[in-house]
């Protein structure tokens, strides 16, 4: 049967090595994680919210944000899931958890990984701490995952 299918289709691909200019905000955030093991947010001059991850515009006020604020490496889980389906772009072997985390000093949540495969071990409100990668590779995974404490 496979032979028949192969006749009916063309196996093509879209394979492109993209290089995305980071801009100042991404550069500072990723660099501080890699070099100083610190997590930096930006504060909106109008609504005073500290955004994690940081970006130029506060989308609620459409204001440019320039004030940097260091937030804690510890935060609380505001939501989580444990996935079991595997895809070619997963950073860890499933099952593992994704969590929404509110870092101390931040006013928005931030999604990252938790190396936990049993959902009963995770609870909203739990404290977690960032674990940084030894050799940073200039990407969000320079925080390797968050560890319940």
């Amino acid at each position: 049967m496979g032979e028949e299918i192969e006749k009916k289709v063309f196996r093509g691909r879209i394979k492109v090595p993209y290089k995305h200019t980071s801009g100042a905000y991404v550069e500072k955030f990723i660099t501080y994680i890699g070099k100083n093991h610190k997590i930096m947010g930006v504060k909106c001059p109008k609504c005073n919210k500290v955004f994690i991850p940081p970006k130029m515009i506060c989308f609620e006020c459409f204001e440019k944000m320039e004030e940097w604020v260091e937030v804690g490496n510890i935060g609380t889980i505001t939501g989580f899931t444990v996935i079991t389906h595997s895809t070619p772009v997963l950073p860890l072997e499933p099952p593992f958890a994704y969590a929404r985390i509110r870092l101390e000093g931040a006013d928005t949540d931030f999604v990252h990984l938790i190396k936990e495969s049993d959902p009963s071990k995770l609870k909203i409100g739990m404290k977690v701490e960032a674990v940084f990668k030894e050799k940073p590779r200039k990407r969000i995974l320079d925080i390797e995952y968050f560890q319940p404490i």
Binding site: F10, G12, I14, V16, Y18, K19, H20, T21, S22, G23, A24, Y25, V26, K55, M56, I57, F59, E60, F62
Partner: protein, 388 residues
């Protein structure tokens, strides 16, 4: 007649360059969006809807409007819709924005076209636009087919490389007067173009448009809102689109059938009998120097084969009867998702008399053209007076 007359009341453009090393995609788009909002003196929260687009596989961002509409434009808790049709993306965005207001559903709409071409690459992205089985293996982006057609055109009408080179000379010297243009070459000569590296015979490097990064934004308003913010808008007098076959190769690209069809419809709707007489300026979409020669013919500016003649006679030069591309055109600036919207913006700038050193004197009616896909053309005609 449309329910509501629609005018361009605000324009924003970034300084187009080969590589914007200083900003990421939303930050680049924000520059143009903010400039348009300030230009129109409209508060971000008063924008009713955002129409935004680029070509997906150039930067590899799926649903890019949902990221950029929120982080680069005032789209939070508002409608954000993406329209993307290849090279015509900019004009398709402009036409979609026009209907958003003409229908009466929205009063003030922000339209944004953008591209950060060097994050992925134009040729690579364009190849993915064509049929995976029949066309992609041999296709070399847009320049390959454009070169094929230039030879067809040359053989048919005896057009010479020198005539083509004069288009680049005209447009890139025009671009010297346009602060936003990517390539500005005030003292460019035919020899300079003719001695540049052969890219794809007969196209030399300077017969071809650059890869640019940048964004363009315009703001539309209906009659009532327009009066509140400006007494010098550019009214949309007609829009027209002509698509064609799926396979770009079904017809010959030079003498562009869709340009003939779309321009005739746009002229009819805007009451234009003879484009060279009735139009005051034209911003057309010329990916190569040869394209402008042939497609001015398809747009009805002259008879077939005479594109070179009207250039040599100075008709399409600054100071001629119908200046073409005072902005420098696509040969000077090509951020593909924004390119056709820059044509609309520059046509509006000419109608508003805000062209500075590139201003054509007393413009009443201006044409803007988008080209893309498999030989599609879109036309918008802007004017000082509303349609009615």
């Amino acid at each position: 007649m449309p329910k509501n007359d629609v005018a361009v009341v605000g324009i924003g453009q970034t300084k187009f360059r080969s590589k914007r090393r200083d900003v990421n995609i939303p930050e680049m788009i924000y520059e143009a969006a903010k400039m348009a909002l300030d230009d129109a003196k409209i508060e971000p929260k008063d924008i009713d809807a955002i129409i935004i687009g680029n070509m997906d596989h150039f930067e590899g961002i799926n649903f890019s409007e949902l990221w950029c509409g929120i982080d680069a434009a005032p789209g939070y808790l508002k409608p954000v819709v993406k329209v993307a049709t290849g090279g015509t993306t900019g004009s398709s965005l402009a036409i979609c924005g026009y209907y958003n207001v003409a229908s009466g559903i929205y009063n003030k709409v922000l339209v944004i076209g953008w591209e950060k071409l060097n994050e992925g690459g134009a040729t690579t992205g364009i190849i993915t636009a064509f049929d995976p089985v029949w066309e992609r293996p041999s296709l070399a982006g847009a320049l390959g087919p454009l070169a094929l057609m230039a030879n067809t055109y040359a053989a048919k009408y005896g057009i010479t490389p020198e005539q083509a080179a004069k288009v680049t000379v005209k447009n890139r010297s025009n671009a010297a007067n346009n602060p936003f243009a990517h390539l500005q070459m005030p003292n460019i000569t035919v020899d300079y173009v003719m001695s540049s590296q052969m890219i794809s015979y007969p196209l030399r490097l300077h017969d071809c448009c650059p890869q640019s990064e940048g964004a363009c934004a315009i703001i539309y308003a209906n009659e009532e809102e327009t009066k509140k913010v400006t007494d010098n808008p550019a009214w949309i007098q007609s829009v027209a689109t002509a698509h064609y076959y799926t396979f770009g190769t079904d017809t010959i690209m030079f003498d562009l059938p869709s340009a003939a069809i779309a321009s005739k419809e746009a002229y009819r709707k805007a009451g234009i009998k003879d484009p060279v007489k009735d139009l005051d300026v034209a911003e057309i979409y010329e990916p190569t120097s040869w394209s402008e020669l042939s497609w001015t013919e398809s747009l009805g500016f002259c008879k077939s084969g005479e594109g070179g003649k009207i250039l040599d006679e100075g008709i399409t030069q600054m100071g001629g009867e119908l200046p073409v591309n005072p902005s420098g055109g696509v040969l000077s600036t090509n951020p593909i998702g924004a390119t056709a919207l820059v044509r609309v913006a520059e046509a509006a700038i000419q109608v508003m008399g805000r062209g500075g050193k590139r201003q054509v004197p007393d413009v009443e009616k201006a044409l803007s053209m988008g080209f893309g896909g498999s030989l599609w053309t879109e036309i918008l005609i802007l004017g000082k007076e509303p349609k009615r």
